[in-house]
Amino acid sequence: MAIIMILLAAGTMLILALAAGFVLGWANKALHVKADPRVESILAILPGANCGGCEFIGCADYAEALVKDGAAINKCSVGGESCKKMIANILGVDVTESWPYRPVVHCGAHTGDKFGRHLYQGEGTCSGANGVAGVQGCTYGCLAFGDCERSCNFDAIHVIDGLATVDYHKCTGCGACERACPRHIISMVPFKREKMLAVTCCNHDFGKAVKAVCKVGCIGCGACARTSALFSMEKNLPRIDYEKYDPETAAQELELVMGKCPMKRLLSIGKPTEQDLAGVADEKTPPDLIVDKFETTADKTEWRG
């Protein structure tokens, strides 16, 4: 009887599966949705990170918008140049040159440069610390709790020695860190070259007040704006006009400006160029030295008060 029982059970499942399979097969034909094949092929090309960098809900939404509404093909910063070319091939449009946007952190103060850092006993996030007075002297600069680091899907921004630092090798330019920073010190800049000049300070106060809270902050002297037309002073800070910025022709001018800057707040950031690499090619990497670090563990404790 056990054999019959087993056979019955197996037969039941088998017959059910066959019947259901037939019905589903029929339904698949009857309820088939004609999808644009281009949408699927574009979806296959897109990275599938669903990061929202393209300002659509996800990759599928963007693929649909590309085919139906003719959205711009350069929106996907993660896929980059190759992705753009392939999409252009599928849609049969021409690729126009556009600059990749990359984040720039407008702060250059490491832990030792910041005055007035007090022991903060709250939530260990920038957005939490930003709502509390007296966490650090500078009310504009990087708080270094790493909201940007947590927001990045590509492991491309890290808080190193109290300052958010972008790893341009890994960065895809999705803009998540820009949206995450509660102090809005990260801005997306069109990178026309592997290294770009950037103002690494965002303190709008007058020079004396900046000196009181930071070793390296921009004092708003305006030397750069007087030297070059690329710069304009705006609320005690130089702003670089990236539209006019042409590193090939203005290299000497920029060198001069960087020399004039008393606080050395104009830095070239980005990936090292070939010239840079060639410059240090014959240098040996320094051997690892044991350096005394006079830190206590209390510095690293995340208080949950």
């Binding site: 019959i4 019955l8 037969g11 059910l16 339904a27 309820l31 949705v33």
Partner: protein, 271 residues
């Protein structure tokens, strides 16, 4: 009670009193997950209702005809189809072949099948709804509301479980209104949550936290429906007057209690 009243009371009981979410606490995943916006919530409720109805009916048919033993004339036998197949192999075999062990596998299978159908249907005729569901539509497959409905139906389709026997009609009512109960719950919740977006909630409670608290409060509110069925029954079929038993009654009928309760022996016609 006549047939229509039974059906009506069963519908109200299933949808409101024994509400799937607030009484049995099943189907919490979509209840929390898809109740952010009212239109999506209503769509989800409608989809779940469709799937419960289809899967419930299928599971009743499979249970009644294949899996569970049933009573025929006081004698417990295998289910009709199973019995017939067994007779093919072993003519005259009168043991009971109980295939209830297959129930979970068969129900999950049927539910997944029904969900596939509903998904194709929605994709074809309601593309915006299909987009709004996103990942939650395939998740209906593992929605406890539906499996719970199927298992409840199994209890009432097999003769040996001791529960009341349901035919196809009661099964249909139960399956459909189980889905409707879920729909009511999720729509109320979505309406509240749309208002919550503007409310000043402590940060720690935002999102699912406050929703769980709300679900508890709502479930307590739904306890207020307890007894609605009896009240309705009384309203539709007023009990006989207390003096009614003095009037000449059929001698077979035992005297009624002072509260005018129904006689204990089943099948006596109500006055």
């Amino acid at each position: 009670m006549d047939y229509l009243t039974t059906i009506l009371l069963m519908a109200i009981t299933t949808a409101l009193i024994n509400n799937m979410v607030f009484h049995f606490f099943v189907g919490n995943c979509p209840f929390i997950g898809v109740s952010r916006r009212l239109d999506a919530a209503f769509g989800m409720g409608a989809a779940v209702t469709a799937v419960t109805t289809v899967a419930g009916l299928l599971s009743w048919a499979v249970t009644y005809y294949i899996l569970a033993p049933n009573k025929i004339g006081g004698q417990v036998l295998s289910a009709p189809l199973t019995h017939a197949v067994v007779q093919l192999f072993r003519p005259g075999y009168d043991g009971v072949v109980d295939l209830s062990i297959l129930s979970y596998a068969v129900y999950i299978f049927l539910i997944a099948w029904a969900v596939q159908l509903v998904e194709m249907y929605i994709r074809k005729f309601f593309p915006p709804l299909y987009k709004a569901f996103g990942v939650y539509l395939p998740l209906i497959t593992t929605n406890c509301v539906i499996l719970f409905t199927c298992l409840e139906i199994m209890r009432h389709a097999s003769a040996t479980s001791g529960a009341e026997q349901w035919g196809l009609d009661k099964t249909l009512i139960f399956a459909f209104f189980a889905g409707v109960g879920f729909l009511i719950a999720i729509v109320i919740m979505a309406g509240i949550r749309e208002e919550l977006d503007k409310a000043d909630i402590p940060k720690a409670l935002r999102g699912p936290g406050i929703t769980m608290v709300l679900a508890g409060i709502l479930s307590m509110a739904f306890m207020g429906f307890a007894g609605v069925d009896r009240g309705l029954e009384k309203a539709l079929h007023p009990p006989a007057k207390e003096t009614a038993w003095i009037v000449a009654l059929p001698t077979t009928q035992p005297a009624q209690g002072p509260q005018g309760q129904a006689p204990t022996s089943a099948g006596a016609p109500r006055q």
